[in-house]
Symmetry: C2
Subunit: 326 residues, 2 copies
DNA sequence: CGGTTGCTAGAAATCGATTTCCGATAAAGT
DNA sequence: ACTTTATCGGAAATCGATTTCTAGCAACCG
């Protein structure tokens, strides 16, 4: 409950608060013995500067916000680690917030980040058009988006080329003999969903296959959505000979549906999906997987953010990393 | 980049800053028309109080810290949600930090929580003996631990009775005919690991089976650790007829090992494990699972924390929720 | 030897809010 | 009608740090 302030330290060391501050910050202009006395007093009292008070004067914090849509998703977990590693190397800490793809929650956490004057924010926006980051931008808090783009503001973004990756996966399926490829798309508001759908269409065109509306069903990027979407697709007549699912959790759902129907892959139906799924142990061994360099996405996003925080000015940058098909 | 302060609002509304503050906080003692003018000015300028400055005066924040050992683990994910729901109901926000079971990282985030003067902290300590929370306690920041206990300080804790749950699972395995039950334990520093090991021993004793040192191998609560531990156990001669794994991620590893050896469960060997694993789709259908009410753990931990924050004083409380065997 | 330069360290202003204290005004009581 | 009381709102102090400004002192130079 104690409140040890710079003044207490100053008194004990018999110097002025200004000197204590100098010892802690821009060091050199303080005499050896004073410096020692101050350090001793600090240790003795267990003094820690009040970061709020410090901020009031300096406007500098060392906490980054990482606002993501679903911490359940291993995709994001590895990204968090990449960001944390880059941040701690630079002396910053990362706090996480989970939005659950919920715009209200997202707005609340953006408010928190702004109110706490975080040094910068890495965001995977729940919506390209309805997520608003002006609260941050108008306060000068830099923002970098990961995975998804944002249409409401021009900010840096780190991700992969979703269009191309999706296209390649479709071509791969066609090479395996598929002709009727069902696509489980993501939420309409998310740019990755749109990009992947667009890649799906490109892939069909490139393969000379027709695009059919009925073969596309939207899900919510969660397990349940994938399950329902797959069920819808599998009721079609004739039924698809392949499913292409646009994220990992929905793929789990789709596999559940296939099980329920007694279908196995790849014998009865081929599967392709976005994102790493190695944690499912074998479920994904026999499907085409598009994996993204998630750790690297987090790392680079954080480094970009740190450069913005340091004050570098350059046009909004899109870092596009390679996704791999395997 | 703009800095809109209470002074700007006061000027525009042609009142004093004190009045603006009164409008925002303890309302009633301010006249209708002034109140309206102030509100209009606030809206017009998009004013938001600087929370650091406010804190300096009031010493009250509305951010809770949730410091957990592994956000990858679905166990914690659901807990986070429980805590978030309880917190937001009370007007608090939750920020997460991920320690990766790493004591250094953990210490860093405890420092962050203290430096940021978070209102309270929910912690799943990486070590019962080496995790130090005095930084928080001496500043009056209440702490509640979840899942694991802490030996370095007497604080509230919410979790399940790990000893009993483990014991029951062992008895269940014995009922299924198992006589040589291998146990994959968790890290020595974590209380849940010790409790579960102890429950395993109790279960054996209650079933009249001998305890054998060689049947216990320690893992690190991660996939790799489970894999290695299972491999060690399966090299024993005679090999175990059951494996009891003390958390979900290690169970994944153990299953990987069994696959590699060409063994299937429950025909060749029986499995029991702690924690929900429904996200593994079928992997866990045929094993004995001890599931914990994770959402509820998070919710109750948060409510306990909020009571402490509100200043309630009562002896450190241990809330023990029921784990279920299925 | 006097005056200038160069440091060091303290006093005081400052950041942006809240809150205490107090004066002014209006309402109420005699 | 005049004093007393209540209420409202402004001036100023405060929270805990940083930073500017300045005084004091020593060293250096001509």
């Amino acid at each position: 409950m104690s409140r040890i302030t710079i003044k207490d330290v100053a008194e004990l060391a018999d110097v002025s608060p200004a000197t204590v501050s100098r010892v802690l910050n821009h060091g050199p202009t303080v005499a050896e013995d004073l410096r020692d006395r101050v350090m001793a007093a600090i240790r003795q009292l267990g003094y820690r500067p009040n970061s709020q008070a410090r901020f009031l004067r300096t406007r500098a914090t060392t906490v980054l916000g990482l606002i993501i849509s679903d911490i359940t998703n291993p995709f994001f977990t590895s990204m968090v680690r990449g960001a944390e590693d880059a941040a701690s190397k630079a002396g910053y800490s990362v706090v996480l917030a989970n939005t659950d793809e919920d715009l209200d929650k997202e707005r609340r956490y953006i408010e928190v980040a702004a109110a706490e004057n975080m040094a910068g924010v890495i965001l995977s926006p729940a919506s390209a058009t309805r997520t608003s980051i002006e609260l941050l931008l108008e306060r000068g808090v830099p923002v970098v988006t990961v995975d998804r783009r944002l249409q409401t503001a021009k900010v840096d973004r780190v991700g992969v080329n979703n269009v191309r990756a999706a296209q390649e996966a479709v071509i791969r399926l066609v090479d395996q003999g598929c002709r009727r490829i069902g696509f489980i798309a993501g939420p309409a508001e998310v740019t990755t969903a749109a990009d992947r759908l667009s890649g799906y269409k490109h892939g069909l065109r490139a393969s000379g296959l027709p695009f059919s509306r009925e073969l596309v069903v939207r899900g919510d990027y969660r397990i349940e959505g994938g399950r329902a979407a797959a069920a819808t697709l599998m009721r079609l007549d004739p039924r698809p000979d392949a499913l292409f699912v646009s994220n990992n959790l929905m793929t789990l759902g789709a596999v559940m549906t296939l099980r329920d129907l007694g279908l196995s892959y790849p014998s009865d139906i081929k599967l392709a999906a976005f994102d790493d799924m190695s944690w499912t142990l074998g479920l994904s061994d026999t499907m085409t997987l598009i994996s993204q360099p998630t750790y690297e996405i987090g790392r680079q996003a954080c480094e970009l953010l740190l450069r913005r925080i340091a004050g570098e000015r350059f046009p909004p940058r899109h870092v596009v990393l390679g996704a791999t098909l395997d």
